[in-house]
Amino acid sequence: MNAPALTLTQMRYVNKAFWRNPVSAFFTFAFPLMFLVIFTALLGRDTIVVGGREVDLSTYYVAAMVSFSVITATYNNIATSLTFQRDLGVLKRTNGTPLPTGVYLAARVFHALLVSLLLVAITVAFGTVFYDSEVPTGATLARLLAMLMIGAASFCALGFAVTAVIPNADAAAPIVNATILPLLFLSGIFIPIGDNAPDWLTWTARIFPVKPFADGVQAGFLGTAFHWSDALVVGAWGIFGLIMAARYFSWEPRT
């Protein structure tokens, strides 16, 4: 079998295992939708000023949860599942078969991208039906899709990289959360951050990949300005993740 066909076949098995694992299916899939409903129910009637425009918080949350679902489906999902696979010895075993390692990893990345896309579609549909948020079109849509792709790929790479500092499967969830939760809060994913946020907070968040990614996604839904520099920061983090992963990724259990 050639590499693309092999990747596709491998992806089907990754997909089967993904949906049969209640933990991954729930935390990756149900979580963002659950948050969307809860946040919007609590705060959805308020408005916030973002990029000089006043927007409904329900619309704000649709954009925020789109960002959140892409990050969980890529960063959290890849880091946690690969650490489990590594500790179980699945990675070492696979590394002893003729399957090219690139195919194995690509299958996981493409699967994560597909799950992200599905989640984004569901979140957007949810927002349109229940919260009257608008579906972007034309150039806005094209820029949004570009941002989603750059973001998903970069957070996959960071997911691979972070496994290098996760000593064992028990530590996977705590370390993943410890690295991503502060950034999610700092970047206005859970608690809306508008134009009146303190400067130091905005600038701190801009160094890391979550805020630029969330801003880029926001531009697609809220009609705020889109900056390619945001995509650049996210992409740079992705490349950094890739380099770290290439250097420190381990096929064998660390302990």
Binding site: L6, Y13, N21, L88, G89, G96, P98, E252
Partner: protein, 316 residues
């Protein structure tokens, strides 16, 4: 192709300043079941993982199926099957899905159902891996290693941590492999396992091969002098050529030069004096005796002052 499946000469490997392997020589023929015996940390896994291509050697020559696992690993992978110490299978796939998935990695796989049949998991073919018992998971491990129809199989401690019935299940599978004509290299620290399964055994201790042979002849256990042991009723003393005076429990043990003559005169003497010769036994060194002696001596040699035992930094 030659008759030699695995050829190792002067293999060395160190971790930091610890010599894990201090010059290993091995030769395994095609179709042979070969057991590498040794205590934990002796270098079994290091040796096997170098042959499998997981680790790089520091020195020596290695040819596995005529290929160098260090430089020709990609080619080698198509012809070998590996069962690692820990079972590593995705828990949410079924047995049949797992086998089908791994089969897809090989150029000439065996039919999925045939592989499942060989390891006796036909009834479980649609069960998820997470639902299998320990013994069944180990059989699945072997099945995965068989997917690509390999010429050579590596089994690293296939039954460690098993209950007796699971061990016997695993042994049946390995014997099955031998009848398929596969070459098998297994590591173990169980004597009975080596005795049951292996055509040939090498004992490894402190990074060296200290003995090699068939389980029956290892380290001259077949030619070692037999000892005769029997029990006498209180107060009876045997003639001088049939052992020392009995110990407090009445046992006498001696190592005759000529076993047949000694037994003849012992039984003759016993009939004459109407002695029952309770618990008469002829003892030869067991594989375990030989093994303990070999590995004990080797371990003592390296734990001499100033030398660190390799077990302290084993890669396992």
């Amino acid at each position: 192709m030659t008759d030699i499946a695995v050829e190792v000469r002067g293999l060395t490997k160190s971790y930091g300043n610890v010599n894990a392997l201090a010059g290993i020589d091995l030769q395994i023929g095609h179709g042979e079941v070969f057991a590498l015996l040794g205590p934990n940390g002796a270098g079994k896994t290091t040796t096997v993982e170098i042959l499998e291509g997981y680790r790089h050697r520091d020195g020596g020559e290695v040819a596995v199926l005529g290929l160098d696992p260090g430089r020709q690993r990609a080619r080698l992978k198509k012809h070998i099957g590996i069962v690692l110490q820990s079972t590593g299978v995705d828990r949410f796939l079924t047995v049949a899905e797992t086998i089908a998935m791994y089969s897809g990695y090989y150029p000439r796989p065996r039919p999925v159902d045939e592989v499942i049949e060989v390891v006796g998991l036909t009834e479980k073919r649609n069960s998820r891996v997470v639902k299998l018992s320990g013994g069944q998971q180990r059989r699945l491990d072997v099945a995965i290693a068989l997917c690509g129809d390999p010429q050579l199989l590596f089994l690293d401690e296939p039954t460690t941590g098993f209950d007796p019935s699971a061990r016997h299940e695993a042994w049946d599978v390995v014997r099955n492999l031998a009848t398929l004509g596969k070459t098998v290299l297994l590591t173990t620290h169980y004597m009975d396992e080596a005795q049951h399964l292996a055509d040939r055994v090498a004992v490894i201790a402190a990074g060296r091969i200290v003995a090699e042979g068939t389980p029956a002849t290892l380290a001259g256990r077949d030619t070692a002098r037999a000892r005769v042991r029997y029990r006498l009723p209180g107060g009876v003393v045997p003639p001088a050529d049939l052992g020392e005076p009995p110990d407090p429990d009445g046992f006498v043990e001696f190592a005759p030069e000529d076993l047949a003559r000694a037994l003849h005169s012992l039984t003759g003497w016993a009939i004459e004096h109407a002695i029952a010769l309770d618990e008469l036994q002829i003892l030869r060194p067991s594989l375990e005796d030989v093994y303990l002696e070999l590995t004990g001596a080797a371990t003592e040699a390296v734990t001499a002052p100033g030398v660190r035992p390799p077990a302290a930094r084993s890669p396992q």
